[in-house]
Amino acid sequence: MIVEAGHFALVLAFVLAVVQFAVPLIGTRTGDDRLMAVAAPVTIAGFALTALSFAALTMAYVQSDFSVVNVWENSHSLKPMLYKVTGVWGNHEGSMLLWVLILTFFGALVAWFGSNLPASLRANVLSVQGLVGAAFLLFVLATSNPFARIETPPFEGRDLNPILQDIGLAIHPPLLYLGYVGFSVCFSFAVAALIEGRIDAAWARWVRPWTLAAWVFLTGGIAMGSYWAYYELGWGGWWFWDPVENASFLPWLSGTALLHSAIVMEKRSALKIWTLLLAILTFSLSLLGTFLVRSGVLTSVHAFATDPTRGLFILFILMLFIGGSLSLFALRASSLTQGGLFQPISREGALVLNNLFLTTATATVLIGTLYPLLVEAVTGDKISVGAPFFNMTFVPLALPLLIAVPFGPLLAWKRGDLYAVTQRLYAALGGALLTVLIALFFVDGMGVLAAFGVGVATWLVLGALTDLALKAGIGSVTTAVAWRRFRGLPRSVFGTALAHLGLGLTTLGIVAVTSLDVEEIAVMKPGDTLAVANYTLRFEEMTPFQGPNFTSDKARFTYINAWGRELGEVISSKRLYTARQMPTTEAGIVTRGLSQLYVSIGDPTADGGIVVRAWWKPLVLLIWLGGLVMMIGGTVSLLDRRLRVGAPAARKAKPKVLTPAETPAQ
């Protein structure tokens, strides 16, 4: 009964989404504010119903209700409770339901916090959001219904894919979807602006918090996914340039560009059309990612099941939204007014440069991801584009951008002085050069390129700190004043500095791991030792172990430092999940500071040993720590007071403090 109530709530949510699309749109077209007012409550009701439906499915998983096909296919009564819950979105149907839930959630947020938006803009935004929701709800109901039932249910389920039975599944997909789908709000704002044919600096201010929120979540989702793949797959890699990873990286790149171009638009009313286009493209890339992952065009752990009708359906949705919004853009963009002018050397110029690099990088990653599909469709040849391609194209594009980053926040608007800014960055530059030299001469195995990379990373970190120091006036005013000014700095300044600092940390982690990691592989028997960088691993024993729904062989190692002291144990194991007869490798990981010792075991050899593969991963944690710092930066920026502009009280409230602005100084 709960299950069926959930099914009905989902159907009702779909019908409400259609109402949410049609009624407010007719309202803004005819100027009927009663129809426009329908948008907000319907959106919130739609979210409540979708949430109810999601709760019903979760309940079915928790109670192991195998009369639901989806539960039977992906759950098992012996599975730990956490994985029963996360298993809800560990499959195609459930994950699409989560997608839709988050979509309606963002719609509800706009309805809830949208009182500072003009009524017609709010109605149009919610209407577009309703159309996206209706399309995906229809997709779920028509091709991927999680509420299909079995008349005579079996007593045991088929269990969840073991790779997904991990805490990572609890965090990664929800964060990623919050990011992907969060950009739908930016998309809806852009399409709403095109429908109204009016766009100004205020629009950028309204879109900014949504862009920031989506970006924060997407950053977290990608970082989490990367860490998950790192420790779960047992290959010691943290990024494979796998098409599925690219699918999440693409909207991140263009979303980052959007984040920066919206600043220019808000401050200077410039780059309006470009910002609109980026908003549309970013969500289009999110949709493309969903399509690539869900259609079965690509093979990966993410492609739960391949069903051609689903692929076609999503392709249709993709074409409807990307094609529709771009046509609307082509039709209306020329009528939008142009904004202010600026010198090439200026804050705006720096942000344009940022956009140029980021969008070009997006394009190369997109080409690398789609090229194999294209070649196969045209010539039938199967090719693969892997890491070498991306290293060759993406890295040269990213490096100049990273070098340019510290200049941006220090340049003045409209007309900047590059020479003066360089002077102010002397300290950071000096620090960076010093680290390059230290890295070259004091770190074993450090190549020139890697040392340069370390320098760039230091440059980013010091540049971000310099920005904060200069804005607080450290060095030019007394310490007490500087401290007061530092505390009084707007949160957005901290946000910028933290995000750039996080980028520096991630860069440092990437450079360190790529250039300095040590990999050893050997066949070991109990008592054997293996030297990995400055540590020695001693294989102690193998013990069988019985988990709730798997059996495993645990290999116990002792790790010893260079001075012969035993520091502790590493346990790496091979698990066999019995319901699916599927083996997995659980890597043993020891964290030493920011670096990690990573041990993964393979099959037993004929003479009774096991193959052991061990890595020393220097500073590897910085890769994800940097992501975390970027997220914190984005969140701090989101809390800036200027993003909380209130609504005008009522029509009678006449502006009072206009006098200084109405007589602008020449």
Binding site: S300, L356, D381, G386, M392, T393, K574, G602, R613
Partner: protein, 145 residues
Amino acid sequence: MTRKQKRLTVIGGAMAFLMLASGLTLYALGQKTSYFYMPAELQTAKLEPGQRIRLGGLVAAGSIVRGEGTQVAFAVTDQVHTVKVSYSGILPDLFREEQGVVTEGTVGPGGVFIADSVLAKHDENYMPKEVADGLKATGLWQHTE
């Protein structure tokens, strides 16, 4: 410089940058992509020595031989032709006899494929997409549900 000249400089710079980027992309696409072959296709393929390719198929039954240390030899088959593969390292969790596999590497002397990476990446039907397509094309594999 007049405003017009300035704008032209900026646009020209951006254009040059984009040209450079697309040139790089095209070059990288030519250099850094690897082709996928099934054993039968490998018989007729014209490969330059040392060219990196990917070889996919089923792991032939009974062909896995563990050599010294981390050395492993096995054969990849499409049920018609079989290619011997040698590899050093840990085989992926899902590497099994008569299951789909994709290996990457070069064709060595004597026709033995020297793999430097072995992927048993696939969906829940234990079949990499490329391999499934390849087998379907030769009519040797039906999807059994």
